[in-house]
Symmetry: C2
């Protein structure tokens, strides 16, 4: 099978690297390789119907800042330059408009390609439209990597908890906020904790999307639609960030055996991101940058899962599991 | 499809109840029901090729102490009394000999039945033999419920982490020990914590299998064989229980920001159950009766999962997910 890596930042580069490392696995499982026939970044693209060399892609990107030697006017032209089966959509996310990712996913599905993405924006804004489009064209649109990076949650619900009604999901979906709240729990004021998060590379120069809860809200919407069958968008989420939490509140929580955590909560009726008091010792009280989700199930009670919420290889690992899902069906195990 | 529930204690009863509640789900997903055509306990059995009524089974068991009105000399006679597709093997576990469960699984696989089990004994003692038997006869032997009850781990590795090498798994696989260690962390001596665990129904009158680490060892062996492709048995595990942990050790750990936990650890080379110091705030430091496993992956770093480690509905939920796996393949989604 043939794949096109659309977006060649941290995640796209990790995907290229991992797919190369997994060639033996693909040959062993499917009797055929998974070939990367195209790759593009914001400025350039490159294609080869016989397969691109991942090492070359990575070194070209490193030395020239571009993945390929061909410029493009329109991403569609690049996508049309070679025949492929699976689009890996990992352009940078735009949670306000969906960005180019939205166009790319639409275009690929309409043209009979399966799509695997880690791009939150399109799914937080146009979930129903995109899933319907995939269904209409008999294609898969898989997106484990959009929620919690390496933390398995979409597929956990689909496979491991199959047949069970999911009552609700509460979780920490933003490692940056959890890092800041952990530092505040250690006695730092918000501003200092934020600066430290920025120095550590956890928070961006403009931390709005993290600290205002917008990033968490995107993930909550994707869970609402994919697990609870809702038809929600980013604008339906009740959002409170962590910017108004002060040291007094954190100290008061601490004195009562609690911590403050930014919790996303979703059920058939709820869609919310807000700071919550969590008892120390509860799985959602854990410190640090991990993402954690507590899934309340029909029979199994609470199931908690946590993992690294961002990063190249971590997100690429979620993409790998989605690619395997598609190949299992398209080729057969 | 037709199933036979072999063992009608807490788990078998929960399976009967859940399969009844899920009839609509089965009809919807497969266009056909899953019918329970046989059930047996240690004293009696009952069969009906057209399907047994779960409510009747449960009330008969409650009022008479037996699930059926027919005695049997040999379980095989009961299993031969009706035609079925899937054996649900949930007789009580015997970790020293494998008990009747071992015979039942062998017999079912040899006779072309798929098997779903929550019975640790047979898999901890005869994993390779049973898996080979299943392969020879083109049958499934699935066992999510043997490790950690509701906590998804076998299927998590098979599906969500497909394609990734698993480097190691460390976990809390016995809720009773974790309860005792939690109480000791609160200042209770071992004997008092154990008595409390017995009063709460977490520990049995004879707590040997829990506190000596044997129960955890069974689970570690099953993970070693199923996830790391090893050919280990219960006797290969290096086991240290929690009976020699005293209040001084717990207090010393506490003074250093640590807790003591009974940790099972498995990798390509390791197979061990022993008390370990875990830093407070680490996912494996959580208090209470939950089971927790930390899976160190090739690309995703550590993934942690926790859930209720025992109990009827919880274990039955794992059995349900295995049944769905089998029906997905046998009938098609």
């Amino acid at each position: 099978m043939k794949t096109f890596i659309c977006g060649f930042g941290t995640i796209g580069q990790s995907v290229a690297k991992i797919l190369k490392e997994k060639q033996e696995f693909f040959l062993d499982r499917y009797g055929e390789p998974l070939v990367v026939v195209g790759a593009l970044d914001s400025k350039s693209f490159t294609v080869n119907p016989d397969g691109l060399n991942a090492d070359e892609l990575l070194s070209t990107k490193k030395t020239t800042g571009m993945v390929g030697d061909k410029p493009y006017k329109n991403i569609k032209d690049a996508l049309n330059a070679v025949d492929f089966d699976i689009l890996i959509e990992v352009t940078s996310t735009d949670i306000y408009t969906g960005g180019v990712g939205l166009d790319n996913i639409r275009y690929a599905l309409k043209n009979g390609k399966d799509v695997v993405t880690a791009n939150k924006g399109p799914l937080a804004l146009r979930y129903k439209e995109l899933i319907n489009l995939a269904d209409e064209h008999g294609r898969y649109l898989l997106f484990e990597g959009t929620v919690g990076g390496a933390m398995p949650i979409i597929n956990l619900n689909k496979y491991d908890l199959a047949g069970q009604q999911i009552k609700s999901i509460r979780g920490i979906f933003n490692g940056t906020c959890n890092y800041i709240l952990t530092k505040m729990d250690d006695g730092q004021p918000f501003e200092q904790a934020l600066r430290e998060a920025q120095q550590q590379g956890y928070a961006e120069a403009d931390p709005t999307s993290d600290v205002e809860g917008y990033d968490s809200a995107c993930k909550v919407v994707i869970l609402a639609n994919s697990i609870f069958g809702r038809n929600a968008t980013f604008n339906d989420v009740d959002i409170t960030g962590i910017t108004s939490i002060n040291s007094d509140a954190v100290a008061l929580a601490k004195a009562n055996g609690m911590v403050i955590r930014l919790i996303g909560e979703v059920s058939a009726t709820k869609l919310e991101v807000a700071p919550r008091l969590i008892p120390r010792g509860h799985p959602l009280s854990l410190p640090g940058t991990l993402n954690t989700a507590e899934i309340i199930t029909e029979y199994a009670g609470p199931i908690t899962v946590s993992g690294i919420g961002a990063g190249g290889p971590e997100t690429a690992s979620a993409i790998l599991s989605d690619i395997i899902d598609i190949m299992d069906v398209r080729i057969g195990e």
